[in-house]
């Protein structure tokens, strides 16, 4: 009989996954607390700031973790695995959106939709500059956007991004470079030196 509770907050993600596969509810709670909010924000960025869809995606992702924990390879990093799953979910959604809209790239169309819905950034910070950044980030090509988000917002390393996106590190660096240059160029109008 366990007298004292195991300190799940000291467990690594991989250990928590092993515990989840054995039916440890508190391990699942701990993992959810670690990743749910970050994944929701990631989905929000990748899915045109659609809150409902992002919530559904978070739910579906964790449901997969509960129902199919064996899909996770314990020798791999959980973080890269969960982001690769999330990224694949987003890609699938892009494909579905393309089919639904009959468009080759439905990204711009979706962004227009997000303009009419509640803009989270507007709620938090009423800043044109910030808005412009978010807008330009959303307008960025998927592959560049995901690389930039994973690197600079989620904090993954180049190697981890390469694992998540299943590309080599050189390609990751190239995409990051392009995304950074694109965003810097798009924010030119807010440059104080430019406006002198």
């Amino acid at each position: 009989m366990k007298i004292f509770r195991a300190q799940h907050n000291t467990f690594s993600d991989e250990e928590l996954m092993q515990a989840i596969s054995k039916g440890d509810k508190r391990a699942f709670d701990e993992l959810y607390n670690r990743y749910a909010a970050a994944l929701l924000r990631y989905f929000m960025r990748m899915l045109w700031k659609d809150r409902e869809k992002s919530e559904d995606f978070v739910h579906d992702l964790f449901a997969k973790i509960v129902n199919k924990p064996e899909y996770f390879d314990p020798t791999r990093s959980f973080k890269t695995w969960v982001y690769s799953v999330a990224n694949n979910m987003c890609k699938n959604e892009y494909k579905k959106a393309e089919v639904r809209k009959g468009m080759s790239n439905g990204l711009d169309n979706h962004y227009a939709l997000s303009d009419t819905s509640v803009n989270v950034m507007n709620e938090v910070q009423d800043s044109f500059f910030q808005e412009a950044f978010v807008k330009n980030l959303a307008e960025l090509d998927d592959k560049h956007k995901e690389a930039f988000s994973l690197r600079h917002i989620e904090g993954l390393s180049i190697k981890e991004i390469a694992e998540v996106l299943e590309i080599n590190e050189g390609t990751v660096k190239s995409r990051l470079f392009y995304a950074t240059k694109y965003l810097a160029e798009s924010l030119k109008e807010f440059n104080p030196i430019e406006n002198r």
Binding site: G23, F28, Y32, A36, L40, V120, I153, T180, A184, L187
Partner: protein, 239 residues
């Protein structure tokens, strides 16, 4: 871009960059203008990270909990002390209404009252012990049984117990007290009976109002004048 370079862009101005840093950043920015644009990108990223405070809804979590319960086919394992605490320390009840608090309060009261209860018991015990000791003493007193024939060998002859009757005169031994008088030649022994004889006519005062002194143990009193003819004559003499 490496994290160190991002920090460099965020923390430094273009003219503060070292040659090595400029070389490292050369691909991204070659002029101050490009450097400032790059800085704005990273400042925006930092602001975005800080502003993103959204968290998943509770419905999402509760739905996942249901899925987890269905998958593993059991409710979360109850730990014995948790269930005991639910009964003894229900958080939904007011603090004073929680059984554990009430039990603790009773325990504390008992602890505080114990010395008082114990002292009463000791008092009772001492009283009973005293009574027992008295009884024992009474029993332990020699009965002073005298047999008519203590060395009688005849078993048929019953010994007659004759209780000794003490008379007052026998029991109260006279007490002699030496009284010092003014003259050195005389010494008078006074007889003081014990116990003290109290006459009905005697007032409860040592010093009588008629001027006759009565000592604490020696009681003297004046005789009526009729009993003393000399005094009577003196009183009734006519001039």
């Amino acid at each position: 871009m490496e994290k160190e370079l991002v920090n460099t862009v965020l923390e430094k101005e273009f003219n503060e960059l070292s040659s090595n840093e400029r070389i490292a950043l050369n691909d991204y920015c070659s002029s101050e203008e490009e450097f400032e644009q790059l800085k704005m990108v990273f400042l925006s990223v930092e602001a975005l990270k800080k502003s993103e405070t959204i968290v998943p809804r509770t419905e999402t979590k509760s739905s996942l909990d249901d899925i987890f319960a269905q998958k593993h086919g059991h409710k979360p394992r109850a730990i014995w002390y948790n269930s005991a605490l639910v009964v003894l320390y229900p958080k939904e009840k007011a603090f004073v209404k929680r059984p554990l608090v009430q039990i603790a309060a009773i325990g504390l009261l008992f602890l505080l009252a114990y010395p008082l209860i114990n002292s009463t018991k000791i008092q009772d015990l001492t009283e009973t012990q005293l009574a027992e000791v008295k009884v024992e003493k009474q029993n332990a007193k020699p009965s002073r049984v005298k047999t008519s024939n203590p060395v009688s060998t005849d078993s048929n002859v019953e010994t007659v117990i004759e209780p000794i009757i003490y008379t007052r005169s026998e029991h109260a031994d006279p007490i002699y007290e030496e009284v010092m008088v003014a003259t050195a030649e005389m010494s008078v022994e006074e007889y003081i009976p014990e116990p003290e004889v109290v006459f009905a006519a005697e007032p409860a005062m040592a010093e009588r109002p008629d001027g006759i002194y009565t000592g604490s143990s020696t009681i003297t009193f004046s005789q009526p004048a009729s009993a003393q003819p000399q005094v009577f004559d003196l009183l009734t003499s006519t001039f």
